[in-house]
């Protein structure tokens, strides 16, 4: 079971300070543009969702942030230090799980953690056992990791990311292969870590999960950033009112100057950026009383599909 174990020393760093700043980040592989002009800002203590369809450039962007991929242009500043392949001291304060977990199939989970502990230094044996408990693989910790299920490998990847008590945690699809209870435990773990001041960048295809845990999100599509902001602000921008009127085209003209958008869909008009009461009042004043008014609250899934053209 994934458990939140309080850190013995809560971080003293100020919440809200910028932990990660990405400016104009681009990556080309030959003639193929994988990432183009991405700007991101992640603040301390927040859970930041990084979304995009398959092949949108998420993993490449995260790879550049972690110094694993050299950018073609742009810069990454992590905990105030520029990131470059080869050597970045700030990466020692980062825990990451990028794509499928990287494991030595012949080593056990405990040996993996001991190996990382030896590499990073300052990690006690007790901490190794604590993290094994935390991610719920303590009972299988002696078994070779090659024999683990996908979900267990994922838990091991999370354990390795957590081991050195990072200030920034980058989790790329951490719930992959986990059952629903495992996913729930993962969400609780992320919330608990964020409450302790750990910043989390989290990418997932499970939008419901993202909506539940993230403070802010960025959406990348075909290598370009198409949205970034607080989840509630982005969702509010997608909210609207659906009205049924005799002449939707005429109603669109009436509301055009007031609403953020007024889109005719058959005998309906979709209005965004204007409250239902204001829509009705204006239409009645214009002699176009609506026969049906339905407030629409968009979810992250609708927003995501809209931003990414159906996730393609």
């Amino acid at each position: 079971m994934v458990q939140a174990i309080p850190k013995t020393q809560p971080t003293l760093k100020a919440r809200g300070e910028t932990v990660l700043r990405v400016e104009g980040l681009s990556k080309r592989f030959g003639g193929v543009v994988a990432v183009e002009g991405v700007d991101l800002e992640v603040r301390r203590g927040e859970i930041f969702g990084f979304l995009g369809p398959n092949g949108a450039g998420k993993t490449t962007t995260l790879g550049m942030i972690l110094g694993l991929v050299e950018p073609s242009a742009g810069k990454v500043e992590l905990l105030g230090e520029p990131v470059r392949p080869g050597r970045t001291h700030a990466l020692r304060k980062v825990g990451a799980l990028l794509g499928a977990p990287a494991i030595y199939p012949h080593l056990s989970a405990r040996q993996h953690l001991e190996l990382i502990a030896g590499l990073q230094g300052g990690v006690s044996r007790q901490r190794v056992e604590e993290v094994l408990e935390q991610v719920g693989i303590a009972r299988a910790a002696h078994r070779a990791a090659g024999s683990y299920s996908t979900g267990m490998k994922q838990r091991l990847g999370v354990a390795m990311a957590l081991l050195a008590e990072p200030e920034l945690l980058i989790l790329d699809e951490p719930s992959n292969g986990m059952d629903p209870s495992g996913m729930k435990e993962m969400r609780e773990l992320m919330r608990s870590l964020a409450a302790q001041g750990v910043t989390i960048i989290f990418s997932s295809h499970i939008l419901h999960e993202v909506e539940q845990v993230c403070d802010r999100i960025a959406v990348i599509h075909k290598g370009k950033l198409v949205a970034q902001g607080a989840v509630r602000d982005l969702l509010a921008s997608g909210d609207g009112v659906r009205v049924r009127v005799e002449s939707p085209e005429e109603a669109a003209l009436v509301l055009g100057g007031l609403a953020e958008r007024a889109e005719v869909q058959g005998e309906y008009l979709l209005v965004g950026g204007l409250e239902a009461r204001a829509v009705v009042t204006r239409l009645v004043q214009a002699g176009l009383p609506p026969s049906e008014v339905v407030p629409i609250e968009s979810g992250l899934e609708e927003l995501f599909l809209e931003l990414t053209g159906g996730g393609q």
Binding site: A96, Y104, G118, L119
Partner: protein
């Protein structure tokens, strides 16, 4: 961090049961060949034959060890474990140095093994350690060292192929293909070119004593070139996929 990565690579190299089993298998093979060979020969020739067999076995096993060590390095790409290390801020140069030292230690062990095994078998025949061993100890140690140095170009070629090819097949096939086929063919059919290749340079150096001649410079030059090339590729290599 650098000490941490050195320990980590040493642990990975020397705490792997499969590698020790492979070494034990090779040792058994060398011991068997030595035993059968000495059985057919007059005792007066035993000591000289033992040293000859040890050197030949060390050279051959050194090539195979280099290929296997290259494959071991390439596995890190397949398992994506290099990303695991580098995403924690491990300097790439430190890792390359640590890996090279771990490979070198493994090669030295493989090269020393036939001398140890053969002399042990000989001691069974002779009813004790041969008397010459006391006087020859330093010379034998030098031969082990020389054989290991002569194997360096192959070891570093394996490292280079692993880094460039990121594949076990490329490292294994590349080293064995070069050392057992390409180099042999060149030495055989174009001796004027072949004399500048690692095999001929190493052989010339081993035959000429432990001098610091042009042959040694050639061997070290090849070794150094492959390490530098490996570093040039690794330092900017994309490992995020």
């Amino acid at each position: 961090m650098t000490l941490g990565i050195l320990k980590l690579e040493a642990d990975k190299a020397f705490r792997r049961r499969g590698a020790w089993l492979l070494l034990a298998f090779a040792a058994a093979l060398v011991g068997l060949v030595e035993y059968l060979m000495l059985r057919e020969q007059a005792p007066a020739r035993h000591y000289a034959l033992t040293l000859l067999l040890s050197r030949e076995a060390a050279q051959s096993l050194g090539i195979f060890a280099a290929a296997i060590l290259g494959a071991w390095t390439a596995q890190e790409y397949g398992w994506r474990t290099l990303a695991l290390l580098f995403s924690r801020g491990t300097p790439r140069g430190a890792w390359l140095l640590a890996r090279w030292l771990a490979m070198l230690g493994s090669l030295a062990l493989v090269v020393a093994m036939p001398f140890g095994v053969s002399l042990t078998v000989l001691s069974f025949y002779a009813g004790g350690w041969p008397a010459q061993l006391q006087a020859d100890g330093a010379r034998i140690a030098a031969t082990v060292l020389q054989t290991a140095v002569a194997g360096l170009p192959y070891l570093d070629l394996a490292l280079f192929l692993a880094v460039v090819g990121r594949s076990v097949a490329a490292a294994l096939g590349g080293v064995l293909g070069y050392a057992l086929v390409l180099e042999v063919v060149i030495v055989q059919f174009w001796p004027e070119v072949g004399r500048y290749l690692p095999a001929s340079l190493g052989e010339a150096w081993l035959s000429g004593g432990a001098g610091l001649g042009a042959e040694l410079a050639g061997v070290v030059g090849y070794a150094l070139a492959f390490v530098v090339l490996s570093w040039a590729v690794l330092r900017r290599q994309d490992l995020g996929g």
